[in-house]
């Protein structure tokens, strides 16, 4: 038996029936339709691929546009500062409408800049005033905001071609995280595609891109002169006067004036405010005066410091064997000396430092430097003549201990003679212990740089708390206290903390001999060097001690043994004036080291008992000579006014020059290169421009909810 061959009811089968054929047909139709559908889907997939490519290209283009805009290097344009701020469109979570920050009203947080000042925002991230009047922050903001506010269309029309889609990008937000030197700007944007004549997005590519931002100082931006310590230093910290920057035609470099500017009133007026109308500064595009509170680098780290105390480099002290008034680094490639205060004042006075490329010297100054009245700061290159020293081989660091907030030194801009004045020159009420923070900051006075034009003072001066002062006194006479050792009077008038003071004995070795004493007026105010106002309209020329009796017809108080020789700038008369001393600090090494004054010498009131008018000259006036001899004061007429030639860099609190004589400052790229090579790249300090360089993150399809 074969069961499968047994067909039950075969007599009723009707062969290959129509329903079966129909079912088969439908099956085949469904299969073919499936194939068609898959074909159409395949086409759709390739169309989507193309639009994805378009959207990706759009997003990439957005990054290119933003990056090149912010990296634009056109002179006067301010776009590079937008790397440092946060911007957002209305699509960002942070903003309801497009908000483009103004970098000039954004601040770096900086406690040392604010120095406890209330309502201090910090340091401005960008210069408030544009260096080119054709551009303003408002116009630059508007251009940037267009990228954030609108969808930016891409591409050109190609001739005879059919365009099916439009490409767009829109920047959602950008945020900066970092410091003034370096950071990352994180950009969120969307590239998308719309079919022609449609407002619906057909493809989109969302991107999070992080770009590394670096601040770079250019040759033109290097700050050969940096002025301003903190937010309280305003427009009185700089007096450039008739300074010529060399080389005349093609000097490159900047003078950085570190102040926050809060309104437009002073924009375009800075040359006048710096009293630099007669200055010759780098030409347009090569630097010049730049107003922005850039962060100063910290001072270089010192090691193996040799303490050599206070130096009073009279001609005799200079000539002594093993004198510290002649320094070199010996066999060392670098040597550091700590000096409390340095005075080279009067004819023949000289402080000499010899450096070479492989024998560099750092001077750490705790107090003041006074190089004046024909005294000389001789920086030589090896054994070459004075003035040949290369600025990149000598660094002078000032390390002021006291915090001078109350009685601040500022530049005296009241006349062409320059000098300094004191903002709140208040009367001192002597208390014990004396608060040394009530004293002004230290100063570096240099009124000449040598006899010939080849002699330069070349150094890198780092003193954010001190005042660099180069101006000449009005008096035609000065005291000689060092040529002859006068038994009872070896005193020396010095400028300490920008005011007149004196040293008791330039030949002595004790603390009492070397420590400075400050001079107060009879109403107990300090006498700034160069001030022309109020009652401080005097110069102190000399200090004397009575050795002979006075003429019998003199009404001068015979009990007065110590006098100062004064010059009254208002009347051009010279006076002898008695004074009293009042100790304010102990005579100890700590006070000597920190250049705290030991005493105040308080002028007696101006009257016949305390003051003798010597007339308007000290040369052939027999009466004045008799009186000066009685107080053992020897004077010399000021004869030569030499040019003042500087090279190197000075980063100080105040730079106070004058408008008389000739002053030159050499801006040299070689100096910058060598300085950076010695102290590190952070000392390539000056106007920074910012560049978005490497792309360090490229993240696609990020949710906008986390922007």
């Amino acid at each position: 038996m074969i069961p499968f061959l047994k067909l039950k009811g075969i007599e009723k089968n009707n062969g290959f029936a129509i329903p079966q054929i129909l079912i088969l047909g439908i099956g085949i139709a469904v299969s073919v339709t499936g194939l068609v559908a898959s074909s159409i889907l395949g086409l759709t997939g390739s169309r989507i691929n193309r639009q994805e490519l378009l959207a990706k290209s759009s997003a990439y283009s957005g990054i290119s546009r933003l990056r090149t805009l912010f990296n634009d290097n056109s002179r006067g344009r301010l776009f590079n500062y937008f790397w440092l701020v946060n911007n957002c469109s209305e699509e960002a979570n942070d903003c309801e409408s497009t908000n483009i920050s103004n970098p000039a009203t954004e601040y770096w947080s900086d406690n040392s800049w604010c120095d406890g000042e209330e309502n201090c925002n910090g340091r401005q991230k960008a210069p408030f005033c544009s260096s080119d009047t054709n551009y303003s922050w408002l116009s630059e903001q508007e251009i940037v905001s267009n990228l954030y506010r609108e969808s930016n269309i891409l591409g050109n029309v190609m001739a005879d071609s059919e365009k099916g889609f439009n490409q767009y990008f829109k920047i959602i937000s950008s945020k900066y995280i970092g410091t003034e030197e370096y950071g990352i700007n994180s950009i969120l944007l969307e590239g998308f595609v719309r079919p022609i004549n449609s407002s619906i997005k057909s493809a989109s590519n969302k991107l999070r891109v992080n770009i590394q931002v670096n601040g770079v100082t250019s040759e033109s931006g290097f700050g050969f002169i940096g002025v301003g310590e903190n937010n309280s230093d305003k427009l009185e910290s700089l007096y450039l006067g008739n300074l010529n920057v060399n080389p005349n035609n093609n000097s490159k470099g900047s003078i950085i004036w570190r102040i926050n500017i809060e309104n437009n009133d002073n924009c375009g007026n800075f040359v006048e405010l710096a009293k630099a109308n007669r200055a010759l500064l780098p030409s347009e595009g090569n630097g010049g005066l730049w107003v922005q509170p850039l962060a100063l680098p910290k001072q270089p780290r010192l090691k193996n410091v040799k303490d050599i105390g206070t130096l009073i480099c009279t001609s005799e002290n200079y000539s002594k064997e093993n004198t510290n008034c002649k320094l070199d680094s010996g066999d060392s490639s670098e040597k550091t000396f700590r000096i409390y205060s340095l005075f080279a004042k009067g004819p023949g006075s000289k402080f000499e430092v010899s450096t070479e490329n492989n024998k560099k010297i750092i001077l750490e100054i705790m107090g003041d430097i006074d190089i004046s009245n024909e005294g000389k700061f001789c920086h030589r290159d090896g054994l070459n003549p004075c003035g040949s020293g290369k600025p990149q081989n000598l660094t002078i660091l000032f390390k002021q201990k006291s915090e001078s907030k109350e009685n601040k030194l500022v530049c005296n801009k009241d006349s062409d003679f320059g000098g300094v004045k004191i903002n709140n020159n208040f009367s001192y009420s002597i208390t014990s212990p004396f608060n040394n923070d009530l004293l002004p900051g230290h100063t570096f006075l240099i009124d000449n740089t040598g006899e010939s034009s080849n002699e330069k003072f070349g150094a890198f001066v780092y003193g954010p708390k001190i005042t660099l002062l180069s101006t000449r006194p009005r008096s035609s006479w000065f005291q000689i206290s060092n040529e002859e050792q006068i038994a009872n009077n070896s005193g020396l008038i010095v400028i300490s903390r920008g005011v007149y003071g004196y040293i008791a004995n330039v030949s002595g070795d004790s603390i009492e001999d070397k420590i400075t004493n400050l001079i107060l007026t009879s109403d107990q105010k300090l006498i700034p060097y160069g001030s022309d106002r109020d009652l401080n309209n005097i110069e102190i020329i000399g200090v004397g001690e009575k050795i002979n009796s006075l003429p019998t017809n003199s009404q001068f108080d015979s009990s007065i043994n110590k006098v100062f020789l004064l010059f009254d700038k208002a009347t051009s008369n010279y006076h002898l004036r008695g004074f009293d001393s009042l100790n304010i600090n102990r005579f100890n090494n700590s006070n000597l080291q920190n250049a705290y004054p030991a005493s105040f010498a308080i002028l007696r009131p101006k009257n016949n008992l305390n003051d003798i008018n010597l007339g308007n000259t000290l040369s052939d006036n027999s009466y004045s000579n008799i009186l000066l001899s009685a107080f053992n004061i020897k004077v010399k007429a000021r004869e030569n006014y030499f040019d003042r030639n500087f090279s190197g860099a000075a980063w100080v609190k105040n730079l106070c020059f004058d408008n008389i004589g000739v002053k030159n400052w050499e801006f040299s790229k070689n100096f910058v290169d060598e300085l950076v090579s010695w102290h590190g790249n952070e000392f390539n300090w000056g106007v920074k421009y910012y560049r978005g360089k490497s792309i360090i993150l490229w993240d696609t399809l990020r949710d906008f909810g986390n922007n």
Binding site: L5, F16, Y60, N73, S74, S131, R691, K693
Partner: protein, 195 residues
Amino acid sequence: MVIIDNMETNFNQIINRVKNKNDRGFGLVDSILSISLLAGIITYGVYFSSLRLNTVYSSNLIRSINKEIERDIERLKLDLWSLNYDKNDKKYLVNKTDCLDFTENIISLPSWITEINSGSEFIQSWRPGAERSKVFSGKKVLITRELKMSSPVENESLNNSIATISYGVEWGGNNKHWMSIDLSPEAHSWCEQFI
């Protein structure tokens, strides 16, 4: 023997039933309908097969063009990255003139110039061959790219640093603006600011 006898009996019964004059079988109407349906289905299948082949060809063509353009963009990006890069100093050396306008540098890039001289250094064309994709066999597709240099913002006197490259594709009777992209040389990020 019994089994063989039974099989013979059953087979004879089937033959007898087929021979039965009352069984209708696969008639004329059935045949006509079947043939018509089969013809319809075959026509339908052939039509849609050709449609699918056409669709697949278009799809492959679009994908291949996309890839070809992507490859071209990547080559340009690579050249733009290395533009003005000094391998010895290991840094970008870019002068002021270059920073103001990168046009000359870009049209001199090795990847910018293609084999077809289109008469303008700003417009370059090429016909990819089968080595790039089978769909390019016969070199019937012409890809053209057009360079326009501009500043990042219109109507502003800024650096000419944006290279807007537009791609057009021609094949058959089609001439399509395929896409555009803005590229910029990496060296622009190293341009020194004029102060």
